[in-house]
Symmetry: D2
């Protein structure tokens, strides 16, 4: 069985490139966010789903490793892979590729926790997330 994974091709904005003519490292946080959106749209796990269940899943940990630089005009692709956990967390790995050279440009990792609408940490996964994990058989993969 395969893992839950989404992919998104994107363009480099001129304004994302710094005076060294490479993409500013901070832009990758936005690429990761766009990848989570693409994953959420594909598997039904986005901000709106959280809000509809009176919770929210803020990032509590983010790591990025930069292997190669990206330049204006390159055509990168980001892959996002869901990492199943029984903790009250949503964990993703990320891989950014330069689709022309095939090079792995960057890798990363985010952890999201659940908070209620008062922004209080939830110690247990909300029901809808447990159901979501069952539906997609995330622990069978």
């Amino acid at each position: 069985m395969s893992e839950l994974k989404a992919s998104k091709q994107f363009d480099i904005r001129f304004s994302e490139v710094d005076s060294m003519k490479v993409v500013w490292h901070g832009s990758y946080v936005t690429y990761f966010e766009d990848a989570r959106e693409a994953f959420g749209a594909k598997y039904g796990l986005d901000y709106m789903n959280y809000l509809n269940h009176d919770c929210y899943a803020p990032i509590v940990e983010e790591t990025i490793h930069y292997h190669k630089s990206l330049r204006y005009g390159s055509k990168p692709r980001i892959d996002i892979i869901y990492r199943p956990t029984r903790a009250a967390k949503v964990v993703f790995d990320y891989e950014i590729y330069d689709t022309e050279s095939g090079d792995l440009v960057a890798t990363g990792h985010t952890v999201q926790a659940f908070v209620d609408t008062n922004y209080q940490l939830m110690l247990y996964s909300p029901d809808f997330y447990v159901e979501w994990q069952k539906k997609w058989k995330v622990f069978d993969k």
Copy 2:
């Protein structure tokens, strides 16, 4: 009598500089926002004041003229000047100077309207704003 005016000195971030080694034009929107914050802190007219009176003052018009470019390491200053109006609007002019050369780098203008908490346009200025205008004698200047 003098106009209502605030000033703020600021630094150019490396990430605000593009591959031409000048500040990306979009960064000026943030400089204007910082100037409004500085004005609001000085004269008691910031986002919190609006929210405390169940309204909000979104930007409905913004104009920026770029006369010179800013570079990393320069020390600009932004001046914000309140332009009195009897309309239900908050109008500011902006001037950015390079404090080393004295050059006028950019000028601009914003117009804010009032909306209620349902984001419906308010046709009349909220009372607290009329009071604020009286307190600062904006029409006597």
Copy 3:
């Protein structure tokens, strides 16, 4: 004959929405930039074209009028229209529509001047731009 025009549909990022749950006004500068990219890709007039001809076309004027607010989850489209001029300038108008309601959300305008690689203003249009205007018969439309 019709004007030179490009269109781009886009998504609202969660990070572009502010605490009033509407898109932060500064994000529109990026939407306009994306529209210029789309236009440049369609008609061969992008940053790379400028750089290949030893010049650059920085924004010297930008105006945005906000008519309606955009929310997370909406599906806007931006249209960019080239406005022919014999001056050494590149002028665009912009229109952003909410594709679901059909509402006109925002309009805007940018003016770009030409500078050489030393960032000195060019008083005459570079040859490649004059050729580009001829090729697309911009004054016949």
Copy 4:
């Protein structure tokens, strides 16, 4: 002996706050950048120093742990601590505090490598950096 450390107090911009009324996680990358600037200004190790020695020190790794959320109006302080290494790297730890509650809001870590002006990785620390480490006796602390 004490470690090399700089601190910077800062304000939360309205535009950094998301629709949950807390600071968007991506803004912390910019806070870290501002802290590196403050460190560089204090100890003479900033982007200009690198460029003056024909090199550049891009981020190759960045980690952020979010412990508490920041809200509009809070007054955070960021501390940046230099972590000495004999590798051709610049390593910093970061701590963000809410100065009103005293809470530790976030911690993080960046690693920078050296590249030459062709963006080729330098396997050994450039001389000026070795001198800088000696000057500040970073291995004696």
